[in-house]
Assembly symmetry: C2
Homo-oligomer: 308 residues x 2
């Protein structure tokens, strides 16, 4: 409650942002203030001081990233005319769960840097980083369950898909060529990236009245946007520039299936990304109307056209 | 809902169990049927089949243990005249969270066996075991949050203490002699073991009306019972019998502080355990009345006098 009050004045500015780029830029400091509030509430006991420090590190290291998931939550709210104050805490909770996945991913992949800084387990050790990861999952999921106006089972199912997508990602290194299908990759992306994008769109509803069909459409938008976001991520990593992405090209993904595994060359991949973007734009027009739809499509465009 | 209906007939038998030993013995198959139901609901996707298999393995390997936490939840319900059907799902959820901690503990300690069988990460690999652990935490905590009649913040705080206790446990290997105090060990035990015992007692309330003072007392009973349970665990591990405890003596705890670190010899430890038991019995008499109090004290006695 305190954290909401603190950020409420700034939330009005978000309604003034003219472009999705401005919007994402304006969301970042707001959501980071809420995250600081949430993480600041974790007690640092005399005999256990490291967990909150590691959790904060995982959330903020290397500048903390773009905060795409919270931005999508608040963007959805803007498009649905949901008061942003109803959404900002859930938006931050998404980032806690996302940070949990980053710690675990880096341990699984043995990655030593992320956003040009040491990963949590390199800096603090695997043992304590696992505890901080558990706390981030715990804090994030219980807050989402508390704040979102959907059944606990729905949240559980979506977050289960997040883990299932990560399993597919890990196992993809053992997939035969014949198993590296569109369907398999879509499943993997819809889980590992799409799940939190789905919850982001769901968060944007707040307590606004929307019909079941719109809820279903928003989930689809979130999932497909996550899939496309991941495809572009893979494309950029392959196009690969150490300095721009902040991690060694291809290291963490050695042997695993990526979006690029589906194509002979970068050009074919780029055409497929454009095709998916168009399909998603049509879906947006089905779901949202007027200025909201335009803004959402521009946001999608910014995600697809990004260079890092 | 289905799982509850399935086990309801057997729940009556629990009310007939004459001794706590009978009670714990009778709880085990009931809770395991509920756990099978919960875990059976985890979808095995074509591209991600391992997570539910590993989760089940972690919950059931080596006979699945005594199910002390669910037993304590149902025992508390019995003592408060709470219908057991209101408590059985939360009791099972506690075991899911407990199983999460076992996977993580074994990864942290590099333990290769538990209950005489390979640990999850040895059998299935660390990468996938981490995902199964995450799913167990997710399933357990969201169900507890859904089922327990306390605020989400309370559950979050108690489960945070669980992690804080585990941090203290890990860091205790670096504690100076002067830091190995009663207070430090109590903090560690109250977290790593007491937290789930607290939630067990809280689960036992169900929708029964109890005053705030009784809730506070139940939390204290749970926590202190957990501390004592852990003290006896450490005592037994030191007394050490590979065959009885199912893991190599002392390996996993090398260098860490245990209950035994507080004492010169086993005899002094045994006296302290007896002293704590007496103090806890007095607390039980303050909290519960009549047959309930006697049964609870007998349960405590069974935990303390166990040989494995």
């Amino acid at each position: 409650v305190r954290s909401r009050a603190d950020v409420r004045p700034n939330l009005q500015d978000l309604l003034r942002a003219k472009t999705p780029t401005d919007f994402v830029r304006d969301v970042k400091p707001i959501i980071e203030r809420v995250l600081e509030g949430l993480l600041g509430q974790l007690p640092a006991f005399p005999y256990a001081k490291q967990i909150p420090i590691i959790a904060k590190y995982a959330v903020f290291a290397g500048g903390g990233g773009k905060r795409v998931r919270p931005a999508l939550a608040l963007l959805t709210a803007r498009c649905l005319n949901t008061p942003l104050g109803e959404v900002v805490d859930a938006a931050a909770a998404l980032e806690l769960v996302h940070s949990y996945t980053l710690i675990i991913d880096d341990i699984q992949d043995g990655d030593e840097t992320r956003r040009n800084e040491p990963t949590a387990h390199v800096k603090f050790g695997t043992e304590l980083s696992l505890l901080a990861a558990g706390v981030l999952l715990l804090e994030g999921t219980t807050r989402l369950q508390e704040l979102l106006k959907v059944s606990p089972a729905t949240i559980r199912e979506v977050l289960y898909k997040l883990h299932a997508g990560q399993e597919a990602d890990i196992e993809s290194s053992t997939w035969e060529a014949s198993e590296r299908t569109d369907e398999a990759i879509n499943f993997m992306f819809a889980g590992k990236t799409g799940a939190l994008f789905e919850l982001a769109c769901l968060s944007g509803i707040g307590t606004t009245r929307v019909d079941e069909r719109t809820i279903g459409n928003l989930l689809t938008l979130g999932r497909e946007m996550g899939v496309l976001f991941q495809a572009v991520d893979d494309y950029l990593e392959q196009a690969g520039n150490d300095i721009q992405t902040g991690k060694p090209v291809g290291k963490s993904r050695a042997g695993k299936v990526t979006f690029m595994s589906l194509f002979q060359d970068k050009c074919a991949a780029k055409i497929e990304i454009a095709r998916r973007r168009e399909a998603l734009e049509a879906k947006i027009d089905e779901t949202l109307v007027g200025e909201g739809a335009e803004f959402f499509k521009e946001f999608l465009g910014a995600l697809v056209d990004r260079t890092r």
